[in-house]
């Protein structure tokens, strides 16, 4: 009698990770299905471009497949994948001359400040930050990571992370104030 097929969707993640680590591509496909939404959302927040975000997210999963053997603890797959995503984003920034991008973004920020009273959504507000500041703020607010974790994940000094988050929060609050005034009051 042939063995019953494994129901990956109903299996605990540590088991699926273990199977994927041993080269089982069906198990890896299940991991992609489970984690794709969070990684794509993170990438969308980081780059603000849906197509690029999906391309980079694909790179994250392909890298994950190549490096699965390096994953020591199967229950740490989520944080490990997030770390991979951050590294892919940092590589992309380095490749595309982050300094040039930052200069362009500062110009965008200046332009948006000039248009007062225009409600901006979060995506456009995030686009006004420098790539490093954006990375820090997204990891803090989107991923709920603490400053030390962000410093460890990005390789930035903890003090720099803290100041990026503080300054970017003020900046975002300022440019989103028009948007928040337009938001209906939520019942308490």
């Amino acid at each position: 009698m042939p063995p019953a097929p494994i129901n990956y969707a109903a299996s605990p993640e540590s088991l699926v990770v273990g199977l994927a680590r041993s080269g089982n591509s069906d198990a890896f496909a299940e991991l992609v299905r489970r984690r794709q939404s969070s990684i794509r959302n993170l990438m969308r927040r980081l780059c603000g471009d849906i197509t690029l975000a999906d391309d980079l997210s694909q790179q994250v999963f392909v890298h994950a497949w190549q490096k699965m053997a390096q994953l020591q603890k199967t229950d740490r797959f989520g944080p490990w994948l997030k770390r991979l995503a951050i590294n892919i984003w940092l590589q992309h920034l380095r490749k595309n001359d982050a300094l040039r991008d930052a200069a362009e973004l500062k110009e965008t920020a200046k332009a948006t400040h000039d248009v007062s009273g225009v409600a901006m959504d979060l995506e456009r507000a995030l686009a006004t930050l420098s790539p490093t500041a954006r990375l820090c703020i997204v990891l803090s607010y989107h991923e709920g990571m603490v400053h030390q974790e962000i410093a460890a994940a990005t390789g930035l000094p903890a003090g720099t992370v803290k100041s990026h988050i503080r300054r970017s929060t003020l900046h975002l609050r300022q440019i989103l104030s028009a948007y928040s005034q337009l938001q209906p009051e939520k019942p308490t």
Binding site: V32, S37, V62, S180
Partner: protein
């Protein structure tokens, strides 16, 4: 170090979270993974074939080289005419034992100087 977050900003980030459809995306990822698996397999087969060809081509010269090397190791350093003492010290009176002594000396010197 405090990690206080602005509640309004946090609410905006939470509202922006979307559940994205998995099928098309995971299909694309798995196609890339399949291509990668195919390429890895092709590389391994290519490497194995190259090794087999190398082994076939080099077997005769390698054999000769190994034979020459072992003969050289057995060559006596000092030629003794008398066969009896020559046989007694044959294991010490060879290039191999001389090389062994040289390596031992180097190892001891390295240990004394650096460790």
């Amino acid at each position: 170090m405090t990690d206080d977050r602005d509640p309004h900003l946090q609410a905006l980030f939470a509202d922006g979270q979307k559940v994205l459809g998995a099928e098309a995306f995971s299909g694309q990822v798995m196609r890339q993974v399949a291509r990668l698996q195919f390429r890895t397999m092709a590389k391994r087969i290519g490497l194995a074939l190259a090794l087999i060809c190398f082994a076939i081509l080099m077997s005769a010269p390698l054999n000769d080289a190994i034979l020459l090397f072992t003969q050289t190791l057995n060559t006596p350093v000092i030629s003794l005419n008398n066969s009896m003492p020559s046989q007694l010290v044959s294991s010490l009176n060879s290039v191999a034992s001389l090389l062994g002594l040289v390596f031992l000396g180097l190892f001891l010197a390295f240990r004394r100087l650096f460790l």
